[in-house]
């Protein structure tokens, strides 16, 4: 990589101050950044010495440090139990073990990638992003702005009595998803996120009672038809739409079972 100055930040304040300069770049796992080796990085800011690589389970939430790797996120016992395995399902196709030991949650969120499995799942889980200066913002709002000159310190996943499921469709095992979907059901609402359309994931909500009345098939279609799809090398917009209907239906059946 083309780095002029590298600093391992001693505090978030130092990282933030350095990040205000021109050409400053925050380093996550560098898996994405390293794809542009010519890009001149005047100031690289390494967050790896700030203890942001831990997942803290609290009574009402999970607090996930920005430097937590996708591997650690997808295999965390508390998150696995809470999401009924969805964290594993959303990460296990991402490139490979060695990659997931590097790529971070902070980098995945800050990159705001359209193909992101992580975005799709975290939107359904109603996660918030904690910015060092900007405080706590809902992930969907963060999607519109990105981190800007701020630094993502944590992702907060609220805990509710709920059911969660995740599914994606890929041309082959470790490719980007053609379409990805996540469903999260609590006592009141069904949240359904659809990503890799190929645009960034969007989340929709319907009351549980409405989904029960509609049934999985109709409710799945209703969710899938609320967003738009586009065509790229991996699939046409029609195919994406049709597969989104299928994934939503399956995830509703998985999470709501005999209730619908």
């Amino acid at each position: 990589m083309n780095i002029v100055q590298y600093t391992k930040a001693a505090s978030l304040e130092e990282a933030w101050e350095l990040n205000q300069g021109r050409g400053a770049v925050v380093l996550g796992g560098c898996c994405w950044l390293r794809l542009s080796p010519q890009r001149r990085i005047a100031q690289a800011i390494d967050l790896s010495g700030l203890g942001l690589d831990a997942i803290e389970e609290r009574d009402d939430s999970f607090k996930i440090g920005a430097m937590v790797t996708l591997g650690a996120f997808g295999s965390h016992e508390g998150l696995l139990t809470y999401t009924k395995g969805a964290v594993k399902e959303a990460t296990r196709h991402i490139v490979g073990t060695q990659f997931r030991n590097l790529a971070t949650i902070g980098g995945s969120i800050s990159g705001r990638f359209g193909f992101s499995d992580i975005w799709t799942l975290l939107l359904a889980l109603d996660a918030d992003v904690e910015l060092y200066k900007g405080g706590r913002v809902p992930l969907s709002d963060f999607g519109k702005t990105g981190p800007g000159k701020d630094i993502v310190s944590h992702i907060i996943v609220p805990k509710k009595s709920s059911q969660t499921a995740y599914a994606s469709l890929r041309l082959n095992e470790t490719d980007f998803p053609i379409i990805a979907a996540a469903v999260h059901v609590d006592g009141k609402d069904v949240r359904c996120a659809i990503g890799a359309r190929p645009g960034r994931a969007e989340v929709m909500t319907l009351p549980v009672d409405t989904v029960k009345t509609l049934g999985c098939e109709k409710a799945g279609r209703e969710f899938a038809e609320k967003v738009t799809y586009e065509t790229n090398q991996r699939g046409s917009s029609e195919y994406r739409h049709d597969m989104a209907v299928v994934l939503c239906r399956r995830l509703l059946a998985q999470t709501m079972g005999d209730d619908v």
Partner: protein
């Protein structure tokens, strides 16, 4: 920038450029088992261990190994030889290009799992691409290697 690290158990220091990637650095230290196949974090060929965790050295900045233990195939010759025996027996190598990264990840996997399923193995190794073998011979060799280690692969 000055870094201090342990390479295959031996403590060293080096003065490096901040943008240098780990695989370039390791090759400059004589570890020619470390190769770069894709440079886009896709193929797994550049796999090394940092603090016993398998990672892609094409995506790690060399400055980040400061204070860390780095292991390459040069430091695992006995284990590699043992596994290579089963690879040879099963014809699990053709051009051999993918071999160093693949072996590094298999050796990490055998330390991680006691009785994995075939699916666990496929998932663990899905980031190691091989354009020749079709992976079936790999799977046979891995099963024999696990057996030799007193471990089993569940179907």
């Amino acid at each position: 920038m000055m870094i201090t690290y342990w390479l295959n158990g031996k403590k060293s220091s080096a003065d490096i450029e901040p943008g240098m990637m780990l695989y370039d650095f390791l090759r400059s230290q004589g570890c020619y088992s470390v190769k770069c196949g894709c440079e886009t974090t896709n193929c797994g060929l550049c796999t090394v261990w940092v603090n016993d965790v398998p990672v892609l050295s094409c995506a790690v900045l060399a400055v980040r190994i400061d204070g860390c233990q780095v292991t390459t195939l040069e430091g695992l010759q006995e284990d590699a030889k043992e596994f290579a025996y089963y690879m040879g027996l099963q014809g699990a190598d053709q051009c051999g290009f993918c071999n160093p990264g693949f072996v590094m990840n298999v050796l990490a996997m055998v330390r991680r799992f006691d009785s994995p399923t075939e699916d666990d193995i496929k998932e663990f190794l899905s980031g190691n691409l091989c354009r020749c073998t079709g992976y079936m011979s790999h799977m046979r060799a891995i099963k024999e290697y696990f057996k030799a280690k007193g471990k089993e692969v569940r179907s």
